[in-house]
């Protein structure tokens, strides 16, 4: 919402300068986004008279002027064809900066003749497009004074962000009212502002126009007045200047009046050319599929939920949002109908959202215009039309009733302290509320002014008082602190994420955060998605990820494209499955595991066991029972079928998948070479049972452990994990650990078989092992292995 300081001062009698106004606005909740004074860049330019003009001795197109800018004659070289003795124009002295091109003026010789500044064109001062000659001012313009000030350009433009609750401040009037309540001046009576004796409706002689509302939900009230015999010329300078100052283009008197009243009073109006209407003008529901060509040149297709203004033949207005092209006023318009209606905010919002159409009118109606201002608004509009376009008014047509019900709030002034944290004397609170237009009776029943649709409870009144008093008055008050040291607040799930994150970082992985949404192509490479946005910002961000891998793989590819030779990335985030969002950590290892080195030789690539090592470390950090996990298959289609696996707790609960990425999937992400990936499903990890801080008793074995090696020939499809488990399980008392240390296939090992060697750690309990004990354990190990088809190598 833009307005100028002088515009504000039409409503507000105040000596405040723009700085104070801006500070006050921000302080009371009308946040100033910018203050710009067009005069600021013109401060160095003064009004000057050309005393004489003589031809330049060296150049046909130049003249040598003698210019008086208030300090006596100065020699200025000028190329403008209209420069002549007696002309009064705008002079920039050396040091001034030309707004249009940023050039700093200085004393310079132009084709051998000294020039002490410049006479300026309209375009050079960014006041228009004219560059045919220098500016010509009225002959009596005061030489030597500031041009900007004389031209009325010294009027700062204030841009205020109006929050959606403050429709009343979508007009300069409402802003002035708030400032007056904040003590910045007094509000001038509205009739005075418009130079009217009173705001009573303008009495008309002609018959009232034929208007009515058939849609009292969408358009509860439709008021109108006609004026016949108007002349639609250009608007007067004061109005055109105001509109221009806030960036609106003056169009014609009638259009400018509606735009001006909309900004000045927050009251949208519409003016129809009566010659284009046929029959009664009616507010009604649109018919499904009905179309209207709006003033913005676009055709909108309407539906039966939308309110329109139509005559017997066509729709002329998307009610409260935008007028139609057909019945808009033009230079030849002579008879007009002025519409001043009340549209229901919710209807306007829905229609505007459906049509994706914003307008100044919609902004105001959907916030809720003052329902008690229809007659006043119409009176002001008619007065402006009569004053500036002539003509004779009709009687007023009023169809329907705006919602005028009085609203009261029971208020306790103590709430100001209890909720607002600042104590304000009840009398002062009463005064503040009354200054804002509320009425307060003796038992604190507060009547809400018709223009404050947002206020409906005591908390709202606290806000009114506090914002006018100023939030600086609110004193910081410590929250009560519980006794003792702060207690831990993180949940087990949060602790798991923290441990996993810092473990990954400690192991050399870099944490990335990638988008939660993927392109369909990325998502389908990992099995698609359960949730697709109906209105994605782009096709690249459409499907909610069901795996963290696509985002990490794309990030890895971007790094490779930038020349990285290695990427170890991880992310902790959610997968978005049909039934739930699941906490997950994803890992991608791409490129070189280690670069070529003087000691290690060629660069090493990652292999699937690197992914396994990472995911096991992360699971362990997360508190998963690593020793109990089984390695099984079915990691997923996007994995290398022979170099991947799942880590499961029991046959069903999958805690992680890991392995080499399927070459086809790698290609889908434009990644060369082997890529290793893993995902651990953090919310599948069983909660740890906690039993206090106390550890179990420390009882190191009294006797030293010993190791025995066993080498087996096994069928090639037997997994090492199965054999190790079988061996470890052969004697649960005496075997403390079993670890595979060799795997061999080749000479000496029959085809279809493997040699697997296992180091078994034996822990004597009560007494050292006798030879018979050891051979019994050994027999048990061999027997357990034999069940899997393993034969001890001779």
């Amino acid at each position: 919402m833009k307005f100028t300081l002088s515009w504000l001062k039409e409503h507000l009698v105040t000596d405040a300068d723009v700085t104070l106004v801006a500070e006050t606005l921000t302080r009371i909740g009308l946040e100033v986004e910018s203050v710009e004074n067009p005069a600021a860049s013109l401060a160095a330019f003064r009004i000057a008279r050309v005393l004489s003009a003589a031809p330049h001795p060296q150049a046909d197109k130049l003249q040598v002027l003698s210019v008086d800018a208030g300090d006596g004659p100065l020699q200025v070289v000028c190329g403008a064809p209209n420069a002549r003795a007696g002309l009064v124009g705008v002079f920039g002295a050396p040091g001034a900066v030309v707004p249009a091109n940023g050039m700093v003026l200085k004393v310079a010789a132009i084709r051998g003749v000294e020039s002490n500044g410049m006479m300026c064109s309209t375009r050079e001062l960014e006041l228009g497009d004219d560059h045919d000659g220098i500016i010509e001012l009225a002959a009596d313009a005061p030489v030597g004074t500031s041009f900007a000030e004389w031209a009325g350009l010294d009027d700062p433009v204030i841009d205020v962000a109006i929050t959606p609750n403050r429709q009343d401040c979508m007009g300069v009037r409402g802003i002035a009212r708030d400032l007056a309540a904040a003590g910045l001046g007094t509000l001038r009576p509205l009739a005075d502002v418009y130079r009217m004796d009173s705001l009573t409706p303008v009495a008309g002689t002609d018959a009232a126009p034929d208007v009515r509302t058939d849609d009292t939900e969408g358009c509860p009230a439709f008021f109108a007045q006609a004026v016949s015999g108007v002349t639609n010329g250009a608007s007067p300078k004061w109005m055109a200047d105001k509109l221009k100052a806030i960036g609106q283009k003056p169009i014609s008197m009638l259009v400018d009046i509606t735009n001006f009243v909309s900004v000045d009073l927050g009251r949208p109006l519409h003016v129809y050319d009566r010659a284009k209407l046929s029959g009664a003008l009616v507010a009604r529901k649109a018919r499904d599929g009905e179309q209207v060509l709006a003033l913005n040149g676009k055709t909108y297709t309407l539906d039966a939920s939308m309110t329109v203004i139509a005559d017997d033949e066509i729709v002329h207005d998307i009610g409260g949002i935008m007028g139609g092209e057909h019945s808009g006023v033009s230079a030849t318009t002579t008879d007009v109908l002025i519409e001043c209606a009340y549209f229901d905010p919710a209807h306007i919002a829905r229609t505007g959202q459906k049509l994706a159409l914003t307008s100044d009118a919609r902004q105001r109606f959907e916030r809720g215009v003052d329902p008690a201002f229809l007659d006043d608004g119409l009176a002001i509009a008619t007065k402006l039309v009569l004053d500036h376009c002539g003509g004779s008014p009709s009687a007023i047509a009023r169809s329907g009733q705006p919602p005028l019900g009085k609203r009261h709030v029971a208020y306790d002034p103590a709430l100001c302290t209890g909720l607002g944290g600042v104590t304000v004397a009840p009398d002062e609170q009463k005064q503040i509320l009354e200054n804002l237009g509320f009425s307060v009776n003796s038992d604190w029943q507060v009547e809400v002014p018709s223009w404050r649709r947002d206020v409906d409870g005591p908390a709202d009144l606290v806000e009114e008082v506090v914002r006018i008093i100023g939030l600086d008055a609110v004193k910081s008050t410590p929250l009560a602190r519980t006794d003792g040291v702060a207690r831990p607040t993180a949940t087990p799930a949060q602790m798991i994420e923290r441990k996993v994150r810092r473990t990954a970082a400690a192991r050399g992985l870099n944490e990335a955060i990638t988008w939660s949404f993927l392109s369909e192509r990325e998502a389908s490479a990992i099995g698609g998605g359960a949730w697709s946005l109906a209105n994605p910002i782009s096709e690249d961000m459409k499907v909610m990820r069901t795996s963290l891998l696509p985002g990490l793989l794309s990030a890895a590819r971007r790094n490779m494209d930038r020349g990285a030779t290695s990427a170890r990335l991880f992310e902790i985030g959610r997968r978005y499955l049909a039934e739930a969002e699941r906490a997950t950590v994803g890992v991608v290892l791409a490129g070189d595991k280690a670069p070529r080195g003087w000691a290690s030789g060629k660069a090493q690539k990652f292999d699937a066991f690197d992914a396994k090592a990472e995911v096991l470390a992360l699971l362990e950090a997360a508190g998963a029972p690593i020793a109990n996990l089984q390695v099984l298959g079915e990691a997923g289609e996007h994995y290398h079928p022979g170099q991947s696996g799942t880590l499961r707790l029991g046959p069903k609960t999958i805690l992680a998948s890991f392995g080499a990425l399927h070459p086809g999937t790698a290609r889908a992400f434009d990644l060369d070479g082997p890529v290793m990936v893993a995902e651990a499903y953090l919310d599948a990890i069983p909660a740890k049972r906690t039993s206090g801080f106390m550890r179990s008793d420390y009882r190191p074995p009294a006797l030293q452990a010993l190791t025995r090696d066993f080498a087996f020939l096994v069928p090639a499809d037997l997994t090492a994990d199965a054999l190790v488990r079988a061996v470890r399980g052969a004697d649960k008392v005496n075997i403390a650990a079993a670890r595979l240390f060799d795997r061999f296939a080749g000479p000496g090992v029959p085809d279809g078989q493997l040699s697997l060697a296992i180091e078994v750690t034996l822990q004597p309990q009560e007494k050292t092992f006798a030879e018979a004990d050891l051979s019994a354990i050994s027999d048990a190990v061999v027997a357990a292995a034999a069940k899997l088809g393993a034969v001890l190598r001779g």
Binding site: E31, R350, G457, R501, T503, F517, R558, R574, E581
Partner: protein, 353 residues
């Protein structure tokens, strides 16, 4: 010279002359071996008369001592020389690079979230979470934002075909917490949020942190203190100055926007003082209707809520200037702005790293 003296000087000379362990061993055998010259002398002791033995014994034993001591010393010297010679051949260029270990890092958003959790834990706030795929009721309606409310236009919402949506703020967590927990409540809710917006300072996904206090007798002064305490703790500066401005959010009444004072140093915004102002937080007293929507009695319970961008807090504290880089996964950026695994924010060690 006696025979003994001669034998001693010859043997010691031979020991001194031995330049290898093998040569030394040959000398040792010649002197102290079974057939050795010194051993032979020792054997003569048994045949001597007591008087003679008394006289010769110490001399012969002294000779043996001198010879074996000289051999030990010579042996040690030769071994040391041998080791030195071997070590000299094993010299390596110790300026050669050691094996490299990859440098991992923690993302600044995670780090800042940990910092915030630490600061707020000290003020008694627990960390709460909620779903990102939300329903309309939790994201809007319960927060006093009805369907046609103009405030909905402020949220560029991503929708799913079934009407669910991606939460536009972390405020639905407030609702879920108030519905599931008995007051008094003190929580913060950090997490991903989504708005259909993309330019240099907006990304369609970003991180917010929401704070909520519901108790008896909570007022704007408590909000002001909490935000001041939080920002002073976060930036680790005592000169953090806040400016509260009245504003509007449908879910709070009164609503307050919070600016923090900063100054511009070398083109970077440095928090502190009151030279310039920048908006950092939205906040207010929870709207009585929101409290009632969650099944609590607004006549008994009141409180405040606030929200701010985690990414923005990170940018202000650590000096990044492009939000989009946060989500690119560029290793150069992650290493430059990331944190070491052991930079765990703690109150005793400071929450900044």
């Amino acid at each position: 010279m006696t025979d003994l003296a001669k034998l001693e000087s010859e043997t010691l000379a031979a020991i001194a002359a031995a330049d290898t362990l093998d040569a030394l061993e040959t000398v040792r055998i010649a002197a102290l071996g079974k057939q050795g010259s010194v051993s032979a002398l020792l054997k003569t002791l048994g045949a001597m008369s007591p008087e003679e033995r008394q006289e010769k014994g110490p001399l012969i034993n002294g000779l043996r001592e001198a010879v074996s001591s000289a051999i030990s010393q010579k042996k040690a010297a030769l071994e040391a020389a041998l080791l030195n010679a071997r070590l000299a051949t094993e010299r390596l260029d110790m300026s050669l690079p050691a094996p490299e270990t990859p440098q991992g890092s923690v993302h600044p958003v995670s780090q800042v979230m940990d910092e915030l959790a630490e600061i707020f834990a000290d003020m008694g706030f627990a960390v709460a979470t909620g779903p990102e795929i939300e329903d309309d009721w939790h994201n809007f309606t319960a927060l006093n934002i009805p369907e046609t409310h103009p405030a909905r236009a402020m949220h560029d919402t991503f929708y799913f075909p079934d009407g669910k949506l991606l939460r536009t703020h972390t405020s639905p967590v407030q609702i879920r917490t108030m519905m599931n927990e008995e007051p008094p409540i003190r929580i913060i809710a950090p997490g991903r949020v989504y708005r259909s917006d993309s330019d240099a300072t907006h990304t369609p996904m970003f991180h917010q942190i929401e704070g909520l206090v519901i108790d008896k007798g909570i007022h704007l002064g408590h909000l002001k203190w909490t935000l001041e305490t939080f920002l002073k703790g976060f930036f680790e500066r005592d000169d953090v100055v806040l400016r509260l401005r009245p504003s509007y959010f449908p879910f709070t009444e009164p609503s307050v926007e919070v600016d923090v004072g900063y100054s511009e140093i070398n083109g970077k915004r440095v928090i502190g003082g009151s030279e310039k102002w920048m908006e950092v937080l939205g906040s207010g007293m929870v709207h009585p209707r929101v409290i009632a929507n969650c099944g609590l009695d607004p006549e008994i319970w009141q409180g405040f809520a606030f929200g701010t961008g985690v990414d923005r807090l990170a940018m202000l504290k650590y000096g990044m200037d492009d939000l989009r880089a946060f989500f690119d996964g560029d290793l150069r950026w992650l290493r430059h702005y990331g944190f070491s695994a052991l930079d765990v924010p703690t109150l005793s060690g400071g929450v900044g790293a």
